[in-house]
Amino acid sequence: MHEIKTLSIDNVMVSAAEGTTVLDAAREHGIDIPTLCHLDGLEDVGACRLCLVEAEGQNKLLPACVTRVEEGMSVKTHSPRLLKYRRMILELLFSERNHVCSVCGADGHCELQTLARRAGMDHVRFDYLHPALTLDATHERFVLDHNRCILCTRCIRICDDVEGAHTLDTAGRACDTSLVTDMADTWSDARSCTSCGKCLLVCPTGALFEKGSLPSEHHGKEEYLKYIVNAQRKMPWKR
Protein backbone atom coordinates (compact mmCIF):
# COMPACT_ATOMS: atom_id res chain seq x y z
CA MET A 1 0.00 0.00 0.00
CA HIS A 2 1.18 3.49 -0.72
CA GLU A 3 1.96 5.66 2.21
CA ILE A 4 0.10 8.95 2.47
CA LYS A 5 2.24 12.08 2.50
CA THR A 6 1.15 15.39 3.89
CA LEU A 7 2.49 18.59 2.44
CA SER A 8 1.53 22.19 1.94
CA ILE A 9 0.92 23.73 -1.46
CA ASP A 10 0.42 27.48 -1.47
CA ASN A 11 -0.22 27.30 2.27
CA VAL A 12 -2.97 24.72 1.81
CA MET A 13 -2.38 21.44 3.60
CA VAL A 14 -2.90 18.57 1.19
CA SER A 15 -2.29 14.87 1.33
CA ALA A 16 -1.32 12.61 -1.49
CA ALA A 17 -0.23 9.03 -1.92
CA GLU A 18 3.48 8.37 -2.08
CA GLY A 19 4.71 8.60 -5.64
CA THR A 20 2.18 11.23 -6.63
CA THR A 21 3.70 14.20 -8.43
CA VAL A 22 3.41 17.68 -6.99
CA LEU A 23 1.50 18.62 -10.13
CA ASP A 24 -1.13 15.93 -9.63
CA ALA A 25 -1.43 16.70 -5.94
CA ALA A 26 -1.91 20.38 -6.69
CA ARG A 27 -4.45 19.82 -9.44
CA GLU A 28 -6.37 17.39 -7.27
CA HIS A 29 -6.80 20.24 -4.83
CA GLY A 30 -7.80 22.77 -7.43
CA ILE A 31 -4.47 24.53 -7.58
CA ASP A 32 -3.59 25.16 -11.18
CA ILE A 33 0.01 24.96 -12.31
CA PRO A 34 0.51 25.77 -16.00
CA THR A 35 2.04 23.07 -18.22
CA LEU A 36 2.74 22.58 -21.89
CA CYS A 37 4.76 19.40 -22.28
CA HIS A 38 2.82 17.49 -19.63
CA LEU A 39 -0.25 15.53 -20.60
CA ASP A 40 -2.05 13.02 -18.42
CA GLY A 41 -1.32 9.59 -19.78
CA LEU A 42 2.06 10.39 -21.30
CA GLU A 43 5.47 10.00 -19.75
CA ASP A 44 6.78 13.31 -18.45
CA VAL A 45 9.92 14.93 -19.81
CA GLY A 46 10.09 18.07 -17.66
CA ALA A 47 11.09 20.17 -20.64
CA CYS A 48 8.77 23.16 -20.85
CA ARG A 49 9.72 24.49 -17.40
CA LEU A 50 6.36 26.19 -16.94
CA CYS A 51 5.43 23.98 -14.01
CA LEU A 52 8.46 24.96 -11.96
CA VAL A 53 7.59 25.53 -8.32
CA GLU A 54 9.46 26.70 -5.26
CA ALA A 55 10.01 24.30 -2.40
CA GLU A 56 10.95 25.61 0.98
CA GLY A 57 14.54 24.89 1.88
CA GLN A 58 15.57 24.23 -1.70
CA ASN A 59 17.50 26.65 -3.83
CA LYS A 60 16.54 25.04 -7.08
CA LEU A 61 13.13 25.32 -8.64
CA LEU A 62 11.45 21.97 -9.09
CA PRO A 63 9.42 20.83 -12.09
CA ALA A 64 6.09 19.88 -10.54
CA CYS A 65 5.38 17.28 -13.22
CA VAL A 66 8.27 15.02 -12.23
CA THR A 67 8.77 15.94 -8.58
CA ARG A 68 7.23 13.47 -6.16
CA VAL A 69 5.50 14.62 -3.03
CA GLU A 70 7.44 14.35 0.20
CA GLU A 71 6.32 14.45 3.78
CA GLY A 72 6.36 17.95 5.18
CA MET A 73 7.15 19.60 1.86
CA SER A 74 6.12 23.22 1.53
CA VAL A 75 5.52 24.25 -2.06
CA LYS A 76 4.77 27.64 -3.61
CA THR A 77 3.32 27.58 -7.09
CA HIS A 78 2.60 31.24 -7.79
CA SER A 79 5.32 33.38 -6.27
CA PRO A 80 6.10 36.64 -8.09
CA ARG A 81 9.37 35.12 -9.25
CA LEU A 82 7.64 32.09 -10.74
CA LEU A 83 5.02 34.24 -12.45
CA LYS A 84 7.77 36.37 -13.98
CA TYR A 85 9.68 33.34 -15.20
CA ARG A 86 6.61 31.75 -16.69
CA ARG A 87 5.84 34.89 -18.59
CA MET A 88 9.37 35.06 -19.91
CA ILE A 89 9.30 31.43 -20.98
CA LEU A 90 6.10 32.11 -22.90
CA GLU A 91 7.64 35.20 -24.46
CA LEU A 92 10.61 33.12 -25.55
CA LEU A 93 8.30 30.56 -27.12
CA PHE A 94 6.46 33.26 -29.01
CA SER A 95 9.71 34.75 -30.22
CA GLU A 96 11.09 31.44 -31.39
CA ARG A 97 8.84 30.65 -34.32
CA ASN A 98 6.06 32.29 -36.27
CA HIS A 99 3.23 32.24 -33.79
CA VAL A 100 1.00 34.91 -35.25
CA CYS A 101 -2.30 34.34 -33.50
CA SER A 102 -4.14 36.72 -35.81
CA VAL A 103 -3.62 34.49 -38.83
CA CYS A 104 -3.28 31.18 -37.00
CA GLY A 105 -6.07 28.71 -37.46
CA ALA A 106 -5.77 27.58 -33.85
CA ASP A 107 -6.62 31.06 -32.58
CA GLY A 108 -8.89 30.76 -29.61
CA HIS A 109 -8.18 27.08 -29.11
CA CYS A 110 -4.47 27.14 -28.47
CA GLU A 111 -2.89 26.20 -25.16
CA LEU A 112 0.08 28.47 -25.75
CA GLN A 113 -2.21 31.41 -26.42
CA THR A 114 -4.36 30.63 -23.40
CA LEU A 115 -1.36 30.40 -21.12
CA ALA A 116 0.04 33.64 -22.48
CA ARG A 117 -3.24 35.38 -21.92
CA ARG A 118 -3.46 34.00 -18.42
CA ALA A 119 0.09 35.07 -17.69
CA GLY A 120 -0.76 38.58 -18.76
CA MET A 121 1.67 38.44 -21.64
CA ASP A 122 0.64 41.51 -23.62
CA HIS A 123 3.84 41.88 -25.59
CA VAL A 124 7.09 40.10 -26.33
CA ARG A 125 10.21 41.99 -25.38
CA PHE A 126 12.53 39.80 -27.45
CA ASP A 127 13.27 39.94 -31.13
CA TYR A 128 11.09 37.64 -33.16
CA LEU A 129 13.46 35.19 -34.77
CA HIS A 130 11.31 34.63 -37.90
CA PRO A 131 12.82 31.33 -38.97
CA ALA A 132 11.91 30.34 -42.51
CA LEU A 133 10.02 27.15 -41.77
CA THR A 134 7.79 25.04 -43.92
CA LEU A 135 4.44 23.45 -43.71
CA ASP A 136 4.14 19.79 -44.61
CA ALA A 137 0.74 19.06 -46.08
CA THR A 138 1.82 16.07 -48.11
CA HIS A 139 -0.01 13.59 -45.92
CA GLU A 140 -3.38 12.69 -47.32
CA ARG A 141 -5.23 13.91 -44.25
CA PHE A 142 -2.90 15.67 -41.87
CA VAL A 143 -0.82 18.80 -41.83
CA LEU A 144 2.36 19.50 -39.89
CA ASP A 145 3.11 23.19 -39.60
CA HIS A 146 6.60 23.70 -38.20
CA ASN A 147 5.90 27.37 -37.69
CA ARG A 148 3.50 26.64 -34.86
CA CYS A 149 5.42 23.80 -33.25
CA ILE A 150 6.76 24.45 -29.75
CA LEU A 151 8.58 21.09 -29.54
CA CYS A 152 6.61 19.93 -26.51
CA THR A 153 7.06 16.39 -27.92
CA ARG A 154 3.60 15.29 -26.88
CA CYS A 155 2.94 14.02 -30.39
CA ILE A 156 6.23 12.12 -30.39
CA ARG A 157 5.40 10.45 -27.11
CA ILE A 158 1.89 9.48 -28.08
CA CYS A 159 3.07 8.18 -31.43
CA ASP A 160 5.74 6.11 -29.74
CA ASP A 161 4.09 5.08 -26.55
CA VAL A 162 0.42 4.74 -27.36
CA GLU A 163 0.26 4.08 -31.09
CA GLY A 164 3.64 2.33 -31.12
CA ALA A 165 4.58 3.61 -34.56
CA HIS A 166 7.31 6.08 -33.63
CA THR A 167 6.80 7.91 -36.90
CA LEU A 168 7.59 11.20 -35.24
CA ASP A 169 10.78 12.20 -33.54
CA THR A 170 12.92 15.27 -33.09
CA ALA A 171 15.86 15.92 -35.37
CA GLY A 172 18.66 18.42 -35.16
CA ARG A 173 19.30 20.32 -31.99
CA ALA A 174 19.43 23.70 -30.30
CA CYS A 175 17.19 26.20 -32.05
CA ASP A 176 17.28 24.04 -35.16
CA THR A 177 15.46 21.18 -33.49
CA SER A 178 12.44 20.14 -35.50
CA LEU A 179 9.89 17.40 -35.78
CA VAL A 180 10.55 14.73 -38.35
CA THR A 181 8.42 12.02 -39.83
CA ASP A 182 10.54 8.96 -40.52
CA MET A 183 13.65 9.92 -42.41
CA ALA A 184 12.89 13.65 -42.50
CA ASP A 185 11.21 13.28 -45.85
CA THR A 186 7.72 14.49 -46.34
CA TRP A 187 4.98 13.01 -44.23
CA SER A 188 3.52 11.26 -47.23
CA ASP A 189 6.77 9.31 -47.49
CA ALA A 190 6.66 8.21 -43.85
CA ARG A 191 5.70 4.61 -44.28
CA SER A 192 5.58 3.94 -40.55
CA CYS A 193 2.65 6.33 -40.11
CA THR A 194 -0.60 4.53 -39.44
CA SER A 195 -2.64 7.70 -40.01
CA CYS A 196 -4.20 7.16 -36.62
CA GLY A 197 -4.39 10.87 -35.95
CA LYS A 198 -3.53 10.68 -32.26
CA CYS A 199 -0.79 13.25 -32.67
CA LEU A 200 -3.41 15.77 -33.75
CA LEU A 201 -5.37 15.21 -30.58
CA VAL A 202 -2.52 16.14 -28.30
CA CYS A 203 -1.02 19.10 -30.14
CA PRO A 204 -1.36 22.13 -27.87
CA THR A 205 -1.04 24.62 -30.72
CA GLY A 206 -1.88 24.65 -34.40
CA ALA A 207 1.15 22.63 -35.48
CA LEU A 208 -0.73 19.43 -36.25
CA PHE A 209 -4.20 19.46 -37.69
CA GLU A 210 -6.51 17.91 -40.16
CA LYS A 211 -6.45 19.02 -43.73
CA GLY A 212 -9.56 20.73 -45.05
CA SER A 213 -10.22 22.47 -41.78
CA LEU A 214 -8.62 24.82 -39.33
CA PRO A 215 -6.81 23.56 -36.23
CA SER A 216 -9.45 25.14 -34.02
CA GLU A 217 -12.06 22.74 -35.45
CA HIS A 218 -10.73 19.67 -33.69
CA HIS A 219 -9.71 21.03 -30.36
CA GLY A 220 -10.50 19.63 -26.96
CA LYS A 221 -10.20 15.95 -27.77
CA GLU A 222 -7.15 15.29 -25.65
CA GLU A 223 -9.22 13.74 -22.88
CA TYR A 224 -9.73 10.71 -25.13
CA LEU A 225 -6.09 9.99 -24.51
CA LYS A 226 -6.90 8.80 -21.00
CA TYR A 227 -9.41 6.28 -22.34
CA ILE A 228 -7.04 5.03 -24.99
CA VAL A 229 -4.18 4.63 -22.53
CA ASN A 230 -6.41 2.95 -19.99
CA ALA A 231 -7.79 0.57 -22.56
CA GLN A 232 -4.36 -0.27 -23.85
CA ARG A 233 -2.53 -0.70 -20.57
CA LYS A 234 -5.09 -2.04 -18.16
CA MET A 235 -7.48 -3.78 -20.55
CA PRO A 236 -10.29 -3.51 -18.02
CA TRP A 237 -12.48 -5.96 -19.95
CA LYS A 238 -9.95 -8.79 -19.58
CA ARG A 239 -10.42 -9.71 -15.96
Binding site: D169, T170, A171, R173, V180, D182, M183, A184, D185, A190
Partner: protein, 163 residues
Protein backbone atom coordinates in the same frame (compact mmCIF):
# COMPACT_ATOMS: atom_id res chain seq x y z
CA UNK B 1 37.08 2.03 -62.74
CA UNK B 2 33.41 1.33 -62.29
CA UNK B 3 34.06 -2.20 -61.22
CA UNK B 4 36.63 -0.96 -58.74
CA UNK B 5 34.15 1.49 -57.42
CA UNK B 6 31.54 -1.21 -56.99
CA UNK B 7 33.84 -3.57 -55.21
CA UNK B 8 34.94 -0.74 -52.95
CA UNK B 9 31.31 -0.01 -52.13
CA UNK B 10 30.75 -3.68 -51.44
CA UNK B 11 33.62 -3.82 -49.04
CA UNK B 12 32.34 -0.76 -47.26
CA UNK B 13 28.96 -2.36 -46.90
CA UNK B 14 30.67 -5.45 -45.57
CA UNK B 15 32.35 -3.36 -42.88
CA UNK B 16 29.03 -1.84 -41.93
CA UNK B 17 27.38 -5.26 -41.85
CA UNK B 18 30.16 -6.53 -39.63
CA UNK B 19 29.52 -3.70 -37.18
CA UNK B 20 25.80 -4.43 -37.31
CA UNK B 21 26.39 -8.10 -36.60
CA UNK B 22 28.77 -7.33 -33.78
CA UNK B 23 26.11 -5.29 -32.03
CA UNK B 24 23.27 -7.62 -32.93
CA UNK B 25 20.17 -6.92 -30.92
CA UNK B 26 21.66 -4.04 -28.96
CA UNK B 27 19.76 -0.88 -29.74
CA UNK B 28 22.27 1.10 -27.68
CA UNK B 29 24.87 0.42 -30.33
CA UNK B 30 23.28 2.90 -32.71
CA UNK B 31 25.86 5.64 -32.16
CA UNK B 32 28.66 3.12 -32.63
CA UNK B 33 27.14 1.81 -35.83
CA UNK B 34 26.71 5.34 -37.14
CA UNK B 35 30.41 5.97 -36.45
CA UNK B 36 31.31 2.89 -38.47
CA UNK B 37 29.04 3.90 -41.31
CA UNK B 38 30.49 7.38 -41.44
CA UNK B 39 34.00 5.99 -41.45
CA UNK B 40 33.13 3.77 -44.37
CA UNK B 41 31.11 6.16 -46.50
CA UNK B 42 32.38 9.54 -45.40
CA UNK B 43 28.90 10.62 -44.48
CA UNK B 44 25.48 9.24 -43.56
CA UNK B 45 23.15 9.30 -46.52
CA UNK B 46 19.46 8.67 -46.09
CA UNK B 47 19.95 5.32 -47.80
CA UNK B 48 22.61 4.36 -45.28
CA UNK B 49 20.44 5.50 -42.39
CA UNK B 50 17.42 3.61 -43.73
CA UNK B 51 19.54 0.51 -44.10
CA UNK B 52 20.78 0.81 -40.52
CA UNK B 53 17.26 1.42 -39.26
CA UNK B 54 16.00 -1.66 -41.05
CA UNK B 55 18.87 -3.84 -39.88
CA UNK B 56 18.68 -2.70 -36.27
CA UNK B 57 14.88 -2.73 -36.35
CA UNK B 58 14.74 0.84 -35.11
CA UNK B 59 12.22 3.48 -36.19
CA UNK B 60 13.64 5.56 -39.06
CA UNK B 61 12.78 8.79 -37.28
CA UNK B 62 14.76 7.67 -34.26
CA UNK B 63 17.82 6.83 -36.35
CA UNK B 64 17.58 10.12 -38.19
CA UNK B 65 16.96 11.96 -34.93
CA UNK B 66 20.12 10.54 -33.39
CA UNK B 67 22.24 11.07 -36.49
CA UNK B 68 21.13 14.66 -36.88
CA UNK B 69 21.59 15.42 -33.20
CA UNK B 70 25.34 14.94 -33.16
CA UNK B 71 27.39 17.51 -35.06
CA UNK B 72 30.10 14.94 -35.68
CA UNK B 73 27.85 13.07 -38.07
CA UNK B 74 27.65 14.40 -41.57
CA UNK B 75 24.36 14.01 -43.40
CA UNK B 76 25.78 15.36 -46.65
CA UNK B 77 28.93 14.36 -48.49
CA UNK B 78 32.04 16.03 -47.13
CA UNK B 79 33.53 18.76 -49.27
CA UNK B 80 36.61 17.81 -51.23
CA UNK B 81 38.71 20.43 -49.57
CA UNK B 82 38.06 21.94 -46.23
CA UNK B 83 39.56 24.77 -44.23
CA UNK B 84 38.54 24.64 -40.57
CA UNK B 85 39.31 27.47 -38.23
CA UNK B 86 39.39 26.61 -34.56
CA UNK B 87 36.87 28.66 -32.62
CA UNK B 88 37.92 27.46 -29.18
CA UNK B 89 38.26 30.06 -26.46
CA UNK B 90 42.03 30.10 -26.55
CA UNK B 91 42.13 30.57 -30.30
CA UNK B 92 39.37 33.15 -30.11
CA UNK B 93 41.35 35.20 -27.63
CA UNK B 94 44.25 34.97 -30.01
CA UNK B 95 42.23 36.40 -32.87
CA UNK B 96 40.59 33.44 -34.61
CA UNK B 97 37.50 35.41 -35.55
CA UNK B 98 39.54 38.07 -37.30
CA UNK B 99 41.51 35.34 -38.98
CA UNK B 100 38.30 33.70 -40.13
CA UNK B 101 37.19 36.92 -41.79
CA UNK B 102 40.56 37.28 -43.49
CA UNK B 103 40.55 33.71 -44.69
CA UNK B 104 37.06 34.14 -46.07
CA UNK B 105 38.19 37.27 -47.86
CA UNK B 106 41.60 36.23 -49.10
CA UNK B 107 41.82 32.47 -49.32
CA UNK B 108 40.26 29.85 -51.46
CA UNK B 109 38.74 32.43 -53.75
CA UNK B 110 39.23 31.47 -57.33
CA UNK B 111 39.95 34.05 -59.98
CA UNK B 112 36.82 33.28 -61.90
CA UNK B 113 33.86 34.10 -59.65
CA UNK B 114 31.79 31.46 -61.40
CA UNK B 115 34.15 28.72 -60.33
CA UNK B 116 33.36 26.97 -57.12
CA UNK B 117 35.65 28.14 -54.35
CA UNK B 118 38.70 26.03 -53.79
CA UNK B 119 37.60 24.88 -50.35
CA UNK B 120 34.77 24.95 -47.84
CA UNK B 121 35.54 27.28 -44.99
CA UNK B 122 34.14 26.51 -41.58
CA UNK B 123 34.84 26.61 -37.89
CA UNK B 124 35.28 23.90 -35.30
CA UNK B 125 34.68 24.10 -31.60
CA UNK B 126 38.11 23.17 -30.36
CA UNK B 127 40.84 21.36 -32.20
CA UNK B 128 42.55 20.59 -28.90
CA UNK B 129 45.88 22.32 -29.44
CA UNK B 130 44.93 25.37 -27.43
CA UNK B 131 48.45 26.41 -26.56
CA UNK B 132 49.21 27.46 -30.11
CA UNK B 133 46.25 29.43 -31.35
CA UNK B 134 44.90 30.43 -33.69
CA UNK B 135 44.77 27.01 -35.27
CA UNK B 136 43.59 26.23 -38.75
CA UNK B 137 43.13 22.82 -40.27
CA UNK B 138 43.52 22.56 -44.01
CA UNK B 139 42.12 19.15 -44.79
CA UNK B 140 44.35 17.02 -42.59
CA UNK B 141 47.17 19.50 -42.06
CA UNK B 142 47.05 21.39 -38.80
CA UNK B 143 48.57 24.86 -38.87
CA UNK B 144 49.59 26.46 -35.59
CA UNK B 145 49.58 30.23 -35.02
CA UNK B 146 48.19 30.38 -38.50
CA UNK B 147 47.78 33.33 -40.80
CA UNK B 148 46.31 33.80 -44.23
CA UNK B 149 49.56 33.10 -46.03
CA UNK B 150 50.02 29.80 -44.22
CA UNK B 151 46.57 28.70 -45.30
CA UNK B 152 47.16 29.66 -48.91
CA UNK B 153 50.53 27.96 -48.88
CA UNK B 154 49.03 24.79 -47.43
CA UNK B 155 46.26 24.79 -50.03
CA UNK B 156 48.78 25.27 -52.83
CA UNK B 157 51.01 22.54 -51.43
CA UNK B 158 48.15 20.09 -51.25
CA UNK B 159 47.07 20.98 -54.76
CA UNK B 160 50.58 20.21 -55.92
CA UNK B 161 50.76 16.96 -53.99
CA UNK B 162 47.48 15.84 -55.46
CA UNK B 163 48.46 16.44 -59.07
Amino acid sequence: MNADHNSEQRSRHKQLDRALTRHQGAPDALVEVLHTAQQQFGYLSKETLSYIAAQMQLPPSHVYGVASYYPFFRLTPPPEREVTICAGTACYVNGSSRLEKEIRAHCCATKDPNDTPAADIGTARCLGACGNGPIVRVNNDVLLRANVDDVNAALAQQEEDAS
